[in-house]
Assembly symmetry: C2
Homo-oligomer: 214 residues x 2
DNA sequence: TGTACATCAGTGAACGCGCGTTCACTGATGTAC
DNA sequence: TGTACATCAGTGAACGCGCGTTCACTGATGTAC
């Protein structure tokens, strides 16, 4: 007869509202410090304050959550690169402008990798191959993926006569490789402990090498 | 009174002989397909046919085993690069020779990464920073580490007038970054599914870019 | 050459951990009448 | 406007797994006498 005292405990967890979003956000935080392996399903639900199995309403399995976080990481990277382009002062000389844009992309890429090493690594624990780099899901504010952003700048370099058409094809991959390699060596590899001054100088020279070498 | 029937079962596992070596070998096999995370202590002991805790006679903990496997991977890489140099036909022109050596190092590096992606990834799950890249433990048959091998070829490029002395310093890192980046994108990243012909063409052009851009 | 003994590389059993995933369920919410 | 009901996003408990690591032990081997 104590029904009054056992009245429903008002579970605020029913109808969370946007649990999927919340889990991706929590997963992203996990990825920030720890990379893709740190995206642990149980920990994400714990952070959101929900039972572990609740995640299965929104994701087929753990990998689906990781994939979603990977897409977020890609998006942050491309937005970072777009900002790098947007912050560039306009120049009269179209050729100099295109060159500056190429450098800005490299700087933004390397900057993101060092600011957010966990997300950077997560962005490249890519589920698919090349077709993924072109997928509209990963397009930033300008409607382009990181790969397409680079492609457009390279097109500008051809249009302004800096790059010959013959050298254009596949040039994305060459520039990308160089910058990506330095990023990886800096954040995970043996170049880890290099002071910021040295790092900056190396970045400058690497981008210079790409500019000359393309 | 059945002592005769309960005579000692002749355990062949006592005094294994070279358990440490055997565990490193097993760990290396695990790393070959699976990378550093696949170096699982229990699995290594299982493969050797020994109790899991036997490993603790030879390694402080799992990480110590992984570090040992990492050193093996580094060694295989450097030997691969030495072979690339050794297989080069001798040339009259010293400058052309130095250039060919630089290219050969790049080709060997990329070849190793693609032939042994697991070991390649393990080699770069490096315990230390730059000082590790110079550690004599990692020197190959010529007594040089991979980094030093590249350094010597760059010195040759300076001596033969291909590279100016001003551009020499830090050039290792630039060349290394470019080649490393392509390797990573090819084996783990979005460039995974690229046919061998395309891959070879990209490799050629990347190395060309480094040669021109340095 | 034979014997006693210390060494220490291996054993076997167990531990606690945290993970991903499955099960049958419950009860707040939105909708149809 | 009020009521019955279906929906489905969440719960709670449990699972099996394999991991790294610790413990007290054992017995083959090498060495000293």
């Amino acid at each position: 007869m104590e029904e009054a005292s056992t009245r429903p405990p008002h579970r605020s967890t029913y109808r969370h509202g946007d649990l999927r979003r919340a889990l991706v956000d929590a997963g992203t935080e996990l990825a920030r410090d720890g990379g893709p392996d740190a995206v642990v399903l149980r920990e994400a639900t714990r952070r959101v304050g929900v039972a572990p199995n609740a995640a299965y309403r929104h994701f087929a399995d753990r990998q689906a959550l990781v994939d979603a976080v990977c897409a977020v990481a890609q998006l942050r990277l491309v937005i970072s690169m777009e900002r790098g382009l947007a912050d560039l002062p306009a120049r009269r000389d179209a050729a100099a402008n295109a060159r500056a844009q190429l450098r800005a992309l490299g700087v933004a890429y390397l900057g993101f990798a060092q600011r957010e090493p966990g997300l950077f690594r997560t962005a490249f624990s890519v589920p698919g191959g090349m077709e993924y780099a072109l997928h509209p899901i990963l397009a930033g504010n300008t409607g382009r993926t990181a790969f397409q952003l680079l492609g457009r700048v390279l097109d500008d370099l051809v249009d302004t006569g800096v790059l010959t058409a013959a050298r254009r094809s596949g040039a994305e991959i060459l520039a990308w490789s160089a910058v990506h390699g330095l990023a990886v060596l800096l954040i995970d590899g043996p170049l880890r402990g290099l002071g910021p001054a040295t790092t900056a100088e190396i970045e400058r020279r690497l981008i210079e090498m790409v500019e000359h070498g393309l």
